[in-house]
Subunit: 356 residues, 2 copies
DNA sequence: TTGCGTTCCGAAACCGGTTTCGGTTAGCGT
DNA sequence: ACGCTAACCGAAACCGGTTTCGGAACGCAA
């Protein structure tokens, strides 16, 4: 049976002190004698005293809790990074005994209502959001509410708040450059709808690299697909039906790339030999794809930790603008990249690993 | 700028009433006149009054919050179901305006300390845990604390608490039976360490099916590997080195099965033709494996919802023993199952889909 | 007019902590 | 012996709600 919990009052009575004195002793106030403090803390440990957090936080006026808003997932595609991010966030917050709440909204409007409720009811003292839109109403609301927040990703205007992001534009430049180095000249991009800022950034990277390398800038080579494997497969089908199909395809994500691989195989072609494919995310699972997927890997192991640390720093009064961190993705070569098979190939065909 | 929040006191002053009256009007007490109630609720809506949750929950003595303890992930392998489960849990809890906390412990001892702290500090009114051990100290602790809880999975003794589980024993019987129907007689099992109850259950299912079908019960055919793709690959390597290697392999999970596929391919063999493989989980990603993985799929779309509903029912005074739900997995045939290639094959070789 | 029962709201205790303020005691110097 | 200061703790306000209790005002019947 659950014996009645020991609270400050009962602990104070047990010690022959008042609640105020016991509270200060527990919190290491200077105006409590060392003897009393030790006596109190010893008794608290023996009786298993645990301060009630609701009472404490009400009194402090600080909920000591942050909320992570899970991104809406499209269809069956789960967000593989959520679990990892939550773990990192929890770790960072746990060091200060802060708690982590998760919420999942049905719609954009629902998102806003949840945020409003959570901060206006004093439920949370900070918010973390992922994958913002170009002009995300959530960041505007959070600014208006004056609630500390950090963004996992960026909006179109990202100067005046805290964020942690991976440079998707740079990553796609790297990916395209890599294919160019292998000899490709006709390179396509399979992207996601552009309301999300990350989709725009990666497209920008593709366009920049196409321009910089003097490649043919054919609008047909840019396919905006559903952000899923099915979307990727459909886009690949369209691209391969082109009168002059691409020899290389860079993708907005690994999930989309998996669909592209399927679309290529459905044509009886071999990804990595007939058509090169580069994904984005660095999902571990990519090594089991058919064939193993070459990808731009994000260093997202400690994204959660960094976001949590930033948020706590802002809660402590830090300037949000001082907490902006841009990481770089790096190329992980597996088996879906190789020199182009046919056509007018340039001279600089670099060596590459054996193809499975 | 964040204007100062409107609380009960300011709302009451605005209306010329006392806080007690306003509170009761907001909560639809019968001793408040209809006119007053409407006047209060109208003003509350106009001023955007939001009751402080910390204060409310302190007064109620009910934190209206539950905690989900994330399972520890082994190595790089993420838990793909976590995001989906959280979404379902949040949905169920959200209908009653309960909040969802997540925690991740470093060790088993850490797990216990977190649970103890969360319930003893009045932080949560319920707990959800996943993947219990055979004799999981967490459920004993939760019982001792008298805290409502539900288990995603089961322990060895599961009679006296609430749980939601998929019948892993039944699923492995189905998987083995399927291979037997295809003509296999020498079937191996790649499992996970047996401290987890689910690992034991699935092994029991394998053993039961082997016995029931009169197959050779060779201890060498049972490989207990790390719960990861690497573990699966290593186990496959051992199995294929056997003087009499298996023609079919059933696995404790899809992740392990992916490793098994890799191990088979590393031998120059073709999964689904030379060796059949059946996974467990029904991960969507399996369709992108090489070749697409046949698997026992769990109906885990609404697991979170069910767990949340159960927990709320128990908080309301329901009997935990009355909330136990066992779901069944079903076979999803893709491309890694087929009739055995060589050897003494039985006569009942059933037809099957074309192999890619 | 008196008496009684409703209806409706104010007053106050309470949840369990934190923090400010003030007073008692002891120690010290002269 | 006296005064002053510093050390230490008690008393009470406060955080923002919920809930119990009692009393005022009112209507109705005798």
């Amino acid at each position: 049976m659950p014996d009645k919990p020991v609270n400050l009052k009962s602990l104070a009575a047990h010690l022959g002190l008042t609640v105020g004195t016991v509270s200060r002793a527990m919190n290491d106030y200077a105006d409590i004698s060392v003897a009393t403090r030790q006596r109190v803390q010893k008794a608290a440990a023996e009786l298993g005293y645990r301060p009630n957090q609701n009472a404490r936080r009400l009194s402090l006026g600080q909920p000591e809790t942050v909320c992570y808003l899970m991104p809406r997932q499209t269809g069956v595609t789960i967000q593989p990074f959520v679990a990892q991010l939550l773990q990192g966030l929890g770790e960072a917050l746990g060091r200060r005994n802060w708690d982590l709440l998760v919420h999942h909204a049905e719609s954009s409007q629902d998102d806003l209502e949840r945020i409003d409720r959570l901060v206006r009811t004093g439920r949370v003292g900070g918010v973390v959001i992922s994958r913002p839109l170009k002009n995300d109403p959530r960041v505007q609301l959070l600014k208006d509410l004056g609630c500390p927040f950090v963004v996992h990703g960026r909006t179109a205007e990202f100067a005046d708040y805290a964020w942690y992001d991976v440079d998707g534009e740079d990553a796609l430049v790297t990916a395209v450059n890599h294919l160019v180095d292998l000899g490709h000249r006709r390179i396509a991009y399979v992207g996601a709808p552009l309301q999300h800022q990350f989709a725009q950034e990666r497209l920008n990277g593709y366009n920049r690299a196409v321009l910089h390398n003097g490649l043919t800038s054919d609008p047909q080579l840019i396919q905006i697909a559903n952000f899923s494997d099915d979307g990727g497969e459909m886009a690949a089908s369209i691209l391969l039906d082109l009168p002059e199909p691409p020899t290389g395809i860079v993708c907005v994500s690994d999930t989309v790339a998996f669909g592209v691989l399927a679309g290529i195989r459905a044509r009886g072609m071999q990804p990595g030999q007939d058509v090169s494919v580069i994904g984005y995310d660095g999902l571990h699972f990519g090594i089991h794809a058919n064939p193993p997927l070459t990808t731009m890997a994000q260093p997202q192991a400690h994204a959660g930790r960094r976001l949590g640390d930033m948020l706590l720093a802002i809660v402590d009064g830090g300037d949000p603008k001082a907490h902006q961190e841009l990481q770089r993705a790096h190329l992980v070569r597996r088996k879906t990249d190789g020199p182009p098979l046919q056509g007018a190939v340039q001279d600089n065909v670099s060596e590459r690993e054996d193809i499975q």
